[in-house]
Amino acid sequence: MCLAIPMQVVEIDGFNARCAAKGIEREVSLFMLQDEPPTVGDHVLVHVGYAIQVITEQHARSSWELLDEVLGGERPADA
């Protein structure tokens, strides 16, 4: 359950954000990034619907390659 998915912030409304990964959009809470608020276009690591850390685009990309290998066909919603 400590699996975290890299996503890109698409839209921000207070602590709520729309984030996208692989063409899928999800509501993500930014409540845990109050000390380091991301902006639209930033990449974040998402665990159980909460962004836990801002990451670089490069790390987001390499993490996705890894997740594709490890997860195969599993959906990001299950993470």
Binding site: L45, S62, D78
Partner: protein
Amino acid sequence: MSDDARTWLARLQALDLPRRVRILNVCGGHERSITQAGLRGILPANVELIPGPGCPVCVCPEEAIYQAMQLALRDGVILLAFGDMLRVPVNVPKDEPRSLEQARAAGADIRPIASPLEAVQVARDHPDRQVVFFAAGFETTFAPVAAMVAAGLPDNLLLLSAGRLTWPAVAMLLDGQAPGFDALVAPGHVATVMGPEEWAFVPGQYRIPTAVAGFSAGSLLAAFYSVLRQLIEDRPFLDNCYPEVVREGGNATARRLLEEVFAVGEANWRGIGPIPASGFILRERYAAHDASRRLPDHTDATRRRVGEMPPGCDCARVVLGQIYPTGCRLYGRACTPRNPVGPCMVSDEGACRIWWAGGIREPEPGTAA
């Protein structure tokens, strides 16, 4: 394999290694990456990778699952849990539901969720019902749970906490007679939230080489190289091989939220027993949302095999890194993901399920430690 991984592997293979080195990991995600990438097969034969206490579902107390089932069956609450929890068996007579999934089939309103945000939504959608979020998880997961609580809960949403801290389980192993490992790979996303410093006690007090790792083969091999080199040079320290995500001090907001919402106290680990300072307990100010304070206690200390693993299941020893999954006599025989006996074969983070999914089929006895 990436160039990065190849480089670390070549460096690692050039080391002058001791006869036998056992490296423990504490994260189901690490174990999954190790197994899927086949890292055991490419490392020198004297390096053993031992899956350790990296599965919160596996150590979730049997009594807590039983209690969650009874709240849904007898008190009519809507019971929410992460999907992994639903098939974990409890010890009950044959004619009773033995998992949340079976309780649901028997008519209880039990729903899998993937996020604390969904728990809040379900409670809002059903203002006339009592909703209980039965949450198991380590620090990474409990920071979001703390965020959910701190952001303000609907009146009808209660939390049944089975949250656990990872480092106290490692401390318990190190304080035991035979820790069973020579080096530690510390969990990447726990360290993202809590900061890598939490693990400094392992090299500091116990002189066990330690490195925080990410989830790519490159990051894991870098961590293995680091701890092996620390061991050879007799220079244990805390290395961070996941610096792109794990930063000094962790996520300050997350730590503040955890501190605000949860006290830390002794907690039971299934099949292992109580571990000091290892459980997240809702603070007094949130007592109105604490299912363990507000709702009837259905735990029955006289129930047969209360708190234990299922009969014949060696999950507790797998969790403690004392045996490999293949060392359990049920592995691949009576116990498969389709018909799991123990929690280690149920959860995606359980070592047995990961090994099975990785194609390891030999039900030979093996000893890790």
